[in-house]
């Protein structure tokens, strides 16, 4: 079976620093994959190499067999990647729903002069509202992003990525900065999305939630894959424990 998303032997360096050193992993259809590792392990860099914000020195990224490695960011998005960034970046001059509408309108924004001939935003508004409902912030639809709390903006970021109707949803620390209750609720939303058929790569520091929701884990450390498999099995690996939690630490550490 070919994987939905395949990262093969990807290496990235910034100046003299090697951020990724031959990372290989794959995402199967319908999976909720947790990509974890200590700070500086290369998780975000791996995600950026997938979206194209970072150009790898070597290696390939393929989506459903389509090689993405040389495509610019917007083409990868159109090929089926949806990304929710670690630091929320809403379009601040737009309302929440407009943020999502724009993403829902990729068919209309394909080419500038084609876009010039299209005006109707009705269907996209309906879709956007549905996505805002999915992530549970429909009541914030007409609000300006600057007036919304971080928890809502995190969900907005996710709704915008969902509106792209991606084959793979990439979530970079969606729970960071949220309190315990908010984090749990958003993690539940992620599980629901996954059950609804969205394949997801989740980068997360909140180990408790990761262990609870993910079906498989890939552990990165120092730019290399340290472990790949079922959450309990991976976390039981002494090498992973040492790297990720420090020598002698246990899984019950919860929040890393």
């Amino acid at each position: 079976m070919t994987a939905l998303l395949e990262v093969r032997d990807v290496a990235v360096s910034f100046g003299g620093v090697r951020a990724l050193d031959g990372v290989t992993f794959a995402l199967q259809v319908g999976e909720l994959l947790g990509l974890i590792g200590p700070n500086g392990a290369g998780k975000t860099t791996a995600l950026r190499a997938i979206t194209g914000t970072v150009r790898p020195d070597r290696g390939t990224v393929t989506l459903e067999g389509l090689e993405l490695t040389r495509l610019p960011v917007h083409r990868r998005v159109r090929a089926g990647l949806g990304m929710s960034q670690q630091l929320v970046r809403p379009f601040r001059a737009m309302t929440a729903i407009e943020n999502v509408m724009l993403a829902a309108g990729t068919a209309k924004t394909h080419a500038p002069f084609g876009a010039l001939l299209k005006r109707d935003r009705g269907p996209e508004r309906e879709k956007a509202l549905a996505h805002l409902e999915t992530v549970g912030i429909a009541e914030a639809a007409e609000s300006a992003p600057d007036s919304l709390p971080l928890g809502t903006l995190k969900r907005l970021e996710m709704a915008r990525a969902l509106a792209l109707e991606p084959k793979v949803l990439l979530l970079d620390e969606p729970l960071a900065g949220l309190n315990h209750v908010e984090a749990r609720r958003l993690a539940d939303t992620i599980v629901e999305l996954n059950r609804g058929g969205v394949s997801i790569v989740l980068i997360e520091h909140n180990l408790g939630e990761v262990m609870r929701v993910c079906s498989r884990l890939v552990v990165l450390d120092n730019g290399r894959v340290l472990g790949d498999g079922a959450p309990e099995a991976v976390m039981a690996d002494p090498a992973v424990r040492t790297a990720y939690l420090g020598a002698g630490a246990g899984v019950e550490a919860g929040h890393a």
Binding site: T51, Q85, M94, A111, L116, R121, R160
Partner: protein, 291 residues
């Protein structure tokens, strides 16, 4: 009456040029300090044609084409620069244009091109043409703002990196903005050349670029009505008041500074906040206080 007609014509030309810049800077968020170069490219392109016997009606679209083509080239070269660097790059283009024009005997060199033929519409007829074209450019701007192209421009002006993340081909949209905005500047240039009947390198220098940017900023970056209004006032005022004419650059500079410091939304921003405040009072008066 003659004088008023001339003023109206010049104001209309300024509106066209400023709305062209507004498309690039206001809608798409790409600052340009060299807009006068494209204005000049249109003027020179068309004047070369009409002084050689080509019809004004052919020279008008040709001027737009020349300016738009130059805009596309500059746009391509500027794709990798942003913000302050884009400002400096476009400023450089402005100086480059003047420098090249001064050296070209074919373009009249320092002397410029004079005795540009009259389009033969009469003073009033020409004014009507200019005003109609200004109206068309304004209508086009308003249409564009509400189209999906305008929607994508909003995103690019807001945050280019995030625009890529929602699948927008930022580079192509920027090029489209440059091509359209500079072609519109070219139209204004053609109209200017055939109004004044003389053009020289000094007609399209850095002060003209700053004046256009001031019109856009004072009117309210991105606001079609505000920019058109500011373009009319800032063209007419120096002709009415000698003081304004003498200190034009100083005044425009001060205006730019004042707007950026006190009301970054320009006049349009001021009107909007007054309206909101007035709306607030109305709500308070009826007792229905809503968040």
């Amino acid at each position: 009456m003659e004088y008023e007609i001339t003023l109206m014509t010049l104001a209309g030309i300024a509106v066209i040029a400023a709305l062209g810049l507004n498309l690039i800077t206001g809608f798409c968020g790409q600052i340009s300090l060299g807009h006068a170069a494209f204005y000049g490219a249109g003027a020179y392109g068309a004047a070369m044609l009409t002084t050689n016997g080509v019809s004004f009606w052919l020279a008008l679209p040709a001027g737009a084409l020349v300016a738009g083509a130059l805009g596309l080239v500059v746009g391509l070269a500027s794709l990798r620069v942003r913000h302050d660097f884009l400002a400096i790059t476009t400023m450089g283009v402005g100086f480059l244009f003047i420098g090249v024009v001064r050296q070209q005997d074919a373009l009249g060199g320092e002397m410029g091109i004079y005795a540009i033929p009259d389009p033969g519409l009469g003073r009033l007829g020409y004014m009507v043409l200019v005003v109609v074209l200004a109206g068309l450019v304004a209508a086009f701007s308003l249409y564009l703002k509400r189209s999906w192209m305008g929607f994508a421009f909003d995103a690019i002006a807001d945050d280019e990196d995030t625009a890529l993340m929602v699948g927008i081909d930022v580079a192509r949209y920027k090029l489209a903005a440059f091509a359209m905005g500079t072609a519109i500047a070219g139209v204004a240039g053609v109209l200017y050349a055939h109004e004044i009947k003389y053009i020289g390198p000094d007609s399209f220098g850095f002060p003209e670029s700053i004046a256009m940017l001031a019109m856009v900023a004072v009117g309210g970056i991105g606001s079609v009505g505000g920019v058109a209004f500011a373009a009319v006032v800032m063209t007419v005022l120096p002709h009415w008041l000698q003081v304004v004419a003498e200190y034009k650059l100083l005044l425009y500079g001060a205006l730019l500074f004042a707007v950026m410091r006190f009301s970054p939304g320009g006049l349009a921003g001021l009107v909007r906040s007054w309206r909101t405040r007035a709306g607030g009072f109305r709500i308070a008066a009826t007792g229905k206080v809503e968040p």
